[in-house]
Symmetry: C2
Subunit: 335 residues, 2 copies
């Protein structure tokens, strides 16, 4: 491994001068700089970030911890955050928490370990009870999903309002018996809980009573879950003419499941999801959904994190912003 000293010796200067060149300090004579640069190239020198980090406490990298890397929604989120971070000359690395509370805490710990300058945590495992654990002295931004008064910056999704609008959209489209597919582990502050609240609120406003038989719980937010939910719904014998699935992935599975059972969408049943993942625009029929403005969320999350990193003021005066949303009406709810 070639070090700064090797370069210094080769260029006939001190290590300090090499450091100055690397860090683009102004007071270096052009000729010297050239010579050092030349030596760096010849020796194929690369800075050792571990050593630099040990000294400066900065890595130039931020972490993004998501529940599942293999989920379109998080892929999209990752892409948006990478793009936004690049504007601030920050590198992004993504890691998976498996939606478990422990791993989310691990990610926090790793960040604190100074592997990253800060962490954007898309949490689903942590809840209001973990507020204290989030009270850390390094830059963290919580993204989307759950909502609670944490000690850190939080970019929230319009879960309740968005879900309400989605269901209201079904009502407007003429649905009177609307089913809900939600996550089994719902609490008041979880994605499921919040979107379910929106569902109930919309029905109440429309004067429709909630039919417990039309509420299906799934354990994971997967395509397979959507198919199973469709089967359960049809098997129940209950009539229904609309379904709100709390994620697009589930909704896409629902579309497939209903198709297999000979239920026509949107003629017999209208379907709407939540998240506006890219795939929803290309299914047959295309999927109506709620767009929570990923780009906005990514932008704000990175901005908040960058501010914390720059100011070193972690934990004081936590900000909370909620993105706007819009209902995207496509074929699955038309007619």
């Amino acid at each position: 491994m070639v070090t700064i000293h090797d370069v210094a010796r080769h260029a006939g200067v001190s290590a300090m001068t090499v450091s100055h060149v690397i860090n683009e300090h102004p007071h270096v004579k052009d000729a010297t700089r050239e010579r050092v640069l030349q030596s760096m190239t010849e020796l194929d020198y690369r800075v050792n970030v571990a050593a630099r980090n040990l000294r400066t406490g900065r890595t130039g990298t931020i972490g993004l911890a998501v529940p599942e890397v293999n989920r379109p929604y998080y892929g999209q989120l990752g892409a948006a955050i990478i793009e936004e971070a690049a504007r601030h000359f920050l590198h992004v690395v993504i890691e998976q928490t498996g939606a478990s509370r422990e791993n989310e805490l691990d990610a926090l710990a790793l960040s604190r370990n100074r592997m990253y300058d800060g962490l954007i945590l898309s949490t689903v495992g942590l809840g209001p009870a973990d507020t204290d654990l989030l009270r850390v002295d390094y830059p963290v931004v919580i993204l989307g999903e759950r909502i609670f008064d944490g000690p850190v910056d939080h970019v929230a999704m319009p879960n309740v309002a968005g879900a309400k609008a989605a269901v209201a959209h079904l009502v407007e489209a003429g649905c009177t018996a609307i089913a809900l597919v939600e996550g089994v582990d719902f609490q008041e502050t979880s994605v499921s809980g919040l979107r379910m609240a929106g569902f109930e609120s919309a029905l109440a406003e429309a004067g429709i009573e909630v039919d417990p038989q039309l509420i299906i719980s799934v354990d994971v937010f997967s395509l397979a879950s959507g198919v199973r939910a469709a089967q359960q719904l049809v098997a129940s014998g209950r009539v229904f003419d609309g379904v709100f699935c709390i994620t697009d992935t589930i909704a896409l599975g629902m579309l497939r499941g209903l198709h297999e059972l000979g239920v026509r969408v949107p003629q017999d049943v209208k379907v709407i999801g939540f998240d506006n993942i890219e795939e929803g625009g290309y299914s047959v029929p295309s999927l109506s959904t709620v767009d929570p403005d990923h780009a906005f969320m990514a932008k704000r999350a990175v901005e908040l994190l960058v501010r914390r990193i720059a100011s070193g003021s972690s934990g004081v005066d936590p900000q909370e912003v909620t993105s706007a949303f819009r209902v995207v009406a496509r074929e699955s709810s038309s007619g």
Copy 2:
């Protein structure tokens, strides 16, 4: 930030003893260990990986560099590699290269910078001309995609054979005029080039001549590209009864595009993709594809990398393994 010295002082021992406890060295009296552990908990101590790394040269983390995080195929790959790495007690971080040669080289550089113990690089930008740049002295495994005689371990996809089998499957299903949707930037060693070779080989064997009019090039492997390819194909006026898309994502777009144009799949045209992404099992109609055995690729890639890390023998006697494949026949090519 609490350091090893703080813990040492608190526990009334030396920093060295704390280090021994952390690293589970055997020669520490139980009572001492308990005391140290207790202090670590009380002070909420976390090792500083930058410092440890500086000393040991190990981080316990491996990198996975993929062209695009927002692509189902890479999401799946990431999930499989994370799972496999966990078996070896290794952490995985994912970064995006944007399918550019420069960024792939950057990822290599970062890895060399000892941010990671090793790197799994899913390359599309690097080609045979870059062989020398891969001649690095730290653990690297090249995954899938392109194929060329590199100086590092390589886990390859069965691109040619798999594509050939896919097209042969269409022939068996009765197709006689088969279209191909491939990437515009194909070279002999690229994904497109290789899968195209399989396409041509299958047609030759079936005694069908390649119709250049039925070969559509797309610039990115996206759903939108698939839709556009369908439009081009139909607009050309050429008759065709089968389409091989070189990735499932394109194929899913093709399904949607054909649907919009009133072309029935599989009655009028049969479609097959490549990659076996989860979504293909849930589209309407479900998508036939080639399964390149992700799990195997992930397993071998991690194993090869771990061996290199352990032995420190980077660059000597590079291994090359190719995964097996199987054609998955679903609705889009049935009947």
